[in-house]
Symmetry: C2
Subunit: 494 residues, 2 copies
Amino acid sequence: MFESAELGHKIDKATYDAQVPKLREDLLNAQFDLAQKAKFPVIILVGGVDGAGKGETVNLLNAWMDPRHIQAHAMGEKSDEERERPHMWRYWRVLPPKGKIGVFFGSWYTAPIVQRVIGKSKASELNQSIDEINHFEKMLTNEGALIIKFWFHLSKETQRKRLKSLEKDPKTRWRVTDLDWQRFKLYDKFRKVSEHALRAASTAEAPWIVVEGADARYRNLTTGKILLEALRKRLDHSAQAAPANAAPLHAPIDRLNVFDKLDMSQKLAKKKFDAELEKYQGKLNLLTRDERFRNLSVIALFEGSDAGGKGGAIRRITGALDARHYRIIPVAAPTEEERAQPYLWRFWRHLPHNGHVTIFDRSWYGRVLVERVEKFCSEADWMRAYSELNDFEEQLVKNNTVLVKFWLAITKDEQLRRFKEREKTGFKRFKITEEDWRNRKKWNAYETAVCDMVDRTSTEIAPWTLVEANDKNFARIKILKTLCQQIEAAMERV
Amino acid sequence: MFESAELGHKIDKATYDAQVPKLREDLLNAQFDLAQKAKFPVIILVGGVDGAGKGETVNLLNAWMDPRHIQAHAMGEKSDEERERPHMWRYWRVLPPKGKIGVFFGSWYTAPIVQRVIGKSKASELNQSIDEINHFEKMLTNEGALIIKFWFHLSKETQRKRLKSLEKDPKTRWRVTDLDWQRFKLYDKFRKVSEHALRAASTAEAPWIVVEGADARYRNLTTGKILLEALRKRLDHSAQAAPANAAPLHAPIDRLNVFDKLDMSQKLAKKKFDAELEKYQGKLNLLTRDERFRNLSVIALFEGSDAGGKGGAIRRITGALDARHYRIIPVAAPTEEERAQPYLWRFWRHLPHNGHVTIFDRSWYGRVLVERVEKFCSEADWMRAYSELNDFEEQLVKNNTVLVKFWLAITKDEQLRRFKEREKTGFKRFKITEEDWRNRKKWNAYETAVCDMVDRTSTEIAPWTLVEANDKNFARIKILKTLCQQIEAAMERV
């Protein structure tokens, strides 16, 4: 991949000076259109060999364009708040919103490549990281992001010369440290590993672009032109949602589904319930005070039919917890800032610290439930969501998050009974709306969506727990018990 | 202040059980109205003596109300991201938005009181902290927040008994640590200091409410009733903006103002400019690479007439910086999430880390400029803004932030010349809008607002630098030079 970036590309001063003014004007105009139309975010990754002009390029982009709409991020050491979240959290929190440009100096590629170069990871681990990165970038581009990945390259000999010449000049001497020379010794290894990573991560949506870094004029002009072309292409040909070419999902032809296997008649008598409630709330409380709990976090996620009893179940959990250590996130319509970001951003921002519990009252599954049924998103969007959600959850679980997913199932008759009851009780008046009645009419469509969801996202690492919730007592205990079991199991693993 | 909280208040079980269901229903209804109407945030502070039921009360509120709209915050150790910002940053980042309730367990009172109790601060320092807190809370209530401050008290004897009885019970033994007994020894000191703090911070808008904590039923019922009453009062009698009773501001009767003293004819020839630019950009670059710079942060704030040259000046600064270490915040219309918070929240969220530079292109002064002139806020709002902005800036400066404020002044004729030029140049087409022409018609009103702003917010710790900007070269050098000087001065202090 690096051959044509070792040819000694050069641009003479006259050519450069002649081309730059027009290029800058075009770039500014493109950026203006981007900011005004604000239809998509631009993510620029800057990677490559030391001394090949990475930092200079980031500064150049700021100098050439309107720096008010560019955010450059150097991803150095993680802060403690970042260390307690999944690895990608630090990137999610600074993703550029629509209309803005985010420049990542040191990106999600850095750690996997460096780890492999210094021998701290295996080839297979690097491949897996690249695989995850491809999924992540695919999600971003599906969400509309324009991703441009620049790799600045120098041949070994050029890099050596460059370090030497920087060292000689008193003005730039500070830029060359012992570490640079140590890293230079790893040049061959670094070249090999990054060549492999770049190739594996050069997808149709977001290919790596290798730029020879030795000559500043060549580097600048190349970078600027590629950036301009990419921006213009996207601005002038508004991307259309790709049609879902996959085979359509369909309900089993015999209509038998996972809910048919649930015994909806299960009940728990009041007395038994009181005893079990005390038992499992006590247990949950003890678990959260266990020393090992400080290295975990918990996400409990509730989905279910309207009037399925999510709120009541959640209160039985929080009743066992210290209010200082949990947070309930009721998932409602996204805010303006959330709408300017990829779908999952609104959930990433709420991920718990270690030792904390976050309860999602409705969740990221909205995409494959309400958004699918009500056609708030395209078929292509909800079809790709299954694997995106699985990827997301895998990252949570890898980060020692105990992820427990509950679906509260009630029968159609029971729902009717509860709706009517709610209408009668002043206390609960705010729990029943016109929308609930409308949704009820779509019972079958929702059921299909739920079954697809369970089929596609009940994974080994994050299985769905289907809760027979016609009897509230039974449901609440099943939920508490499941939660305790999963936390216990995780503690034993940690 | 504690006398009536040492009387041994008690509520019997029958009374309690009779009153609680209605109270809970009323609380839920009030909370529902709050969430639906979403007109103001509720901030509940929970403080007091150990063992007096602080934690229990927080849990109680969550149990009685809808926990999805309550966020409880235990303010423990600061994270490293918090340590690099002004002390109040950690509170600002978790303030509840309109329609929500935030419960602070351990609040902005904790540190000042504890520091004084353990002898790490002087009486005068405590008083100053309380003073700052009063300003902060006054700002919050002016912004519409409902602040309810509960202090749970126990007499010394009751506290001793309570710790003993917790220790005896195997179920609660874990709750009593050596630290608790150490703190018990400081009871008298703590009582004295907190009594003083509570009295000094019991303002008309946000008085402390002392509740005897010994009897749980008394405590719960009292807390619930006070909370309900406070909520209902605010919900049912929508607060009106207080009229500004202060004497109106007026321009000096002879119309002589600070701008008349500026020599607007100052110029810098191209050659001199080039030399100075290189000199001060080089200097600025060196300063930001100085080791001492890692303990500082810089905020450079730009206000000025339309077409005053803010953008160009900013680019001369960023040209000297590494893009990874600065961020430009163009201040535009607030987002939905920002509108749900106090005015200053949108700026607090962008405060720089140590070693970083944040440049505000327009700033918090919008309130006393455009919002005043265009009547986007009430007179009371912009009148109180002067002292709020001064308070805010004082916190920045105390936190080793170098705060540099520039006003770019041009004459009315020069503005006209630039507007016309911009209309002609395609490159600058996006820099001139209808709004600019409209604003120009209000030149005098803006001038009055600017003069008031300078008079009231050019303070010793954060003076305004008025920049004669008819000549762009002169302005740019003056700005770079000032910035360098202020960073240097700060470095010598650190």
